[in-house]
Amino acid sequence: MVDDERILADTTAAILRRAGFETMVTYDGLSALDNAASFNPDYLLTDIMMPVMNGVELAVTLTKMYPALRILLFSGQAGIANILEKSRQMGFEFPLLAKPVHPMNLVESLKALREN
């Protein structure tokens, strides 16, 4: 779970843990990359607009390291179309969930990724 909004990151992680996910929280893209090796993630749930490294860049980088990684982007901003367009041109298309979202829907969206 990666989001620079700490309260949102922490509460989302608590909810995911309750739903049975083993969850690691970081508040920016670079520390997510740093900690990925020790954690070996199956899923990435990340905010998009973050300092230093945005969520899409993080997703693209981690996909290369973990080809099986299931990714869900999570954003509260409308003005991210050009970031998504850039990743689409690079051949990456990630599902996107708009904030705010009810916790149950969030968990279901993640589980749905497993089934696909």
Binding site: D4, E5, I7, L8, T11, T12, A14, I15, R18, M49, M50, P51, V52, N54, G76, Q77, A78, G79, N82, A98, K99, P100, V101, H102, P103, M104
Partner: protein, 505 residues
């Protein structure tokens, strides 16, 4: 000097026959016109200096020669006609025709020919006074050419005297204002000026008398049908040969369409700015809302302790306060009625910064602000927020890899009245020297498809509507690049505009 008492007075004309003859001879010799006399057979018998100058022949060459030598062959029939008139005692006045110089050059001439009579009253010949009119013809031609240009111009071209009475009126003026030339020439120029702008005419006349030009002055005029015309006028003094100002020429261009397009562009940019700000505001609101949903969900879980529930709810409460704060700050902009109100510019700046807070954070841009404007200023807050927003968005776009945004507001003391100066300084990529002149032009952008090209132009319009100024300086030098936008808002600006509102609308 004592001799003059007994002698004839020197300035009294000598009225003897001899005296008159000498007097006439002197006039003839010194005349600029050609004065020639001939007998009834058309043989020249006198030739003055003016004739020598105009035709190029010496008197010795011409006296005794037929006058036909001066007339082009194809016009020889004219001489028969002239001689027949003279024989019957008639005079020919200002007859315009063509004659030939010694070198064969033909030129336009105006001649007056009178019969010469002897003492018994018998006609014995003719005197001929001829004037070279090539110069006058040239002037006539250029005058006709000018008149044609004036008449075919799209702009209204009007002249008036120093009392403001219209003295000429072209087709463009007829199209723009609806009056025919016959009904408006002789009327006061005030006919075209709306009642509330009559003071303008006094000022225009005052400047004209001083010999000043007035260029591209934007104002409104009124047509015959009572419709408002937005015009840009240029007024220049008309001088007589002595250089005295005797009137004015006035060129008026209809800028109603241009104004309409400008207004639409400003409206469009307001909507675009609103959109950009709404996206930023959405982010600020959606994050805490998402947290609140999570916190309430967690608090509702059956296995959490009372202490945990209290903690979750407290955090939810403070997140909701964050939402309220943003809503209060941002939604307030759109309550802007367009009427000026008293505010601290720094408050408006802080509102804009709070809207772009996460965008600044996401781009790793540090904000350093120094606000020392302690006095409130009267401005239209919505417009000022838009100005700041446009400039700050440009600054953010110029720093994709982070940087520092320096913002200062300070009161400045000037002879023309105190003002608040706002300086927004980024450490971004800067604007290339060749683009710097164009940044305030509409539809100029260096951002490719991402820019609308009217952000700074709109900012300039809005700053000027507050009676202020905006300027940009920039450097693209590596390691030292950045852009500084400086704006001044005079304390009296918004009020002045209110008073002169007839001009804007």
């Amino acid at each position: 000097m004592t001799q003059s008492k007994t002698g004839t007075k020197p300035d009294r004309p000598d009225l003897s026959i001899e005296g008159i003859r000498n007097f006439l001879a002197a006039i003839i010799a010194s005349s600029d016109d050609a004065i020639i006399s001939k007998d009834l057979n058309g043989i020249i018998n006198s030739w003055n200096d003016g004739a020598r100058r105009i035709f190029g022949y010496e008197a010795e060459e011409m006296v005794g020669q037929p006058i036909l030598r001066l007339i082009p062959i194809e016009l020889h029939h004219e001489e028969d006609f002239i001689l027949s008139k003279i024989r019957s005692g008639e005079r020919i006045d200002h007859f315009e025709t063509t004659r030939m110089k010694k070198d064969g050059e033909k030129f336009p001439i105006s001649v007056t020919i009178s019969p010469i009579k002897d003492e018994s009253g018998k006609i014995i010949g003719a005197s001929k006074i001829a004037r070279d009119i090539s110069e006058r013809r040239r002037l006539d031609e250029s005058r006709y050419r000018l008149a044609a240009i004036v008449d075919s111009a799209d702009d209204a071209i009007i002249s008036k005297n120093l009392d403001g009475i219209i003295t000429s009126w072209n087709n463009g003026a007829r199209r723009l204002f609806g009056y025919e030339q016959e009904e408006i020439v002789g009327q006061s120029i005030l006919t075209l000026i709306p009642d509330n702008l009559r003071h303008e005419e006094e000022e225009i006349l005052r400047r004209l008398r001083a010999g000043d030009n007035i260029e591209h002055y934007q104002t409104t005029r009124i047509s015959k049908q009572g419709e408002i015309r937005e015009v840009s006028i240029t007024v220049s003094p008309i001088r007589n040969a002595k250089g005295e100002v005797i009137g004015a020429s006035k060129i008026a261009r209809d800028v109603s369409n241009q104004k309409k397009v400008e207004r639409l562009a400003i409206e469009a940019e307001k909507i675009a700015t609103t959109g950009r700000m709404a996206a930023a505001i959405a982010h600020e609101i959606n994050n805490p809302l998402a947290s609140v949903l999570n916190l309430i969900f967690l608090a509702r879980q059956p296995d959490v302790s009372n202490q945990e529930i209290r903690d979750y709810l407290e955090t939810a409460e403070s997140e909701l306060e964050r939402v309220s704060h943003i809503a209060r700050q941002t939604l307030g902009y759109y309550r802007d009625t367009g009427k000026p109100s008293e505010v601290h510019l720094k408050d408006l700046m802080e509102n804009v910064l709070s809207v772009y807070r996460s965008k600044l954070l996401a781009h790793d841009i540090a904000v350093e602000s120094r606000f020392t404007d302690l006095r409130k200023i009267r401005v239209r807050t919505g417009e000022v927020v838009q100005i700041f927003s446009n400039v700050i968005c440009n600054a953010i776009d110029s720093m994709p890899h982070g940087g520092t945004l320096l913002i200062r507001t300070a009161r400045i003391v000037r002879t023309e009245g105190d003002a608040i100066q706002v300086v927004i300084n980024d450490t971004g990529s800067g604007i290339a020297r060749e683009h710097l002149d164009k940044v305030f032009e509409p539809f100029f952008t260096t951002k490719g498809n991402l820019g609308t090209g009217i952000g700074l132009w709109v900012a300039k319009q809005l700053v000027e509507r507050h009676g202020g100024q905006i300027s940009v300086s920039s450097s693209t030098d590596r390691g030292d690049s950045g852009t500084i936008v400086t704006m001044t808002f005079p304390f009296r600006g918004a009020e002045d505009e209110e008073a002169g509102s007839g001009r804007e609308r």
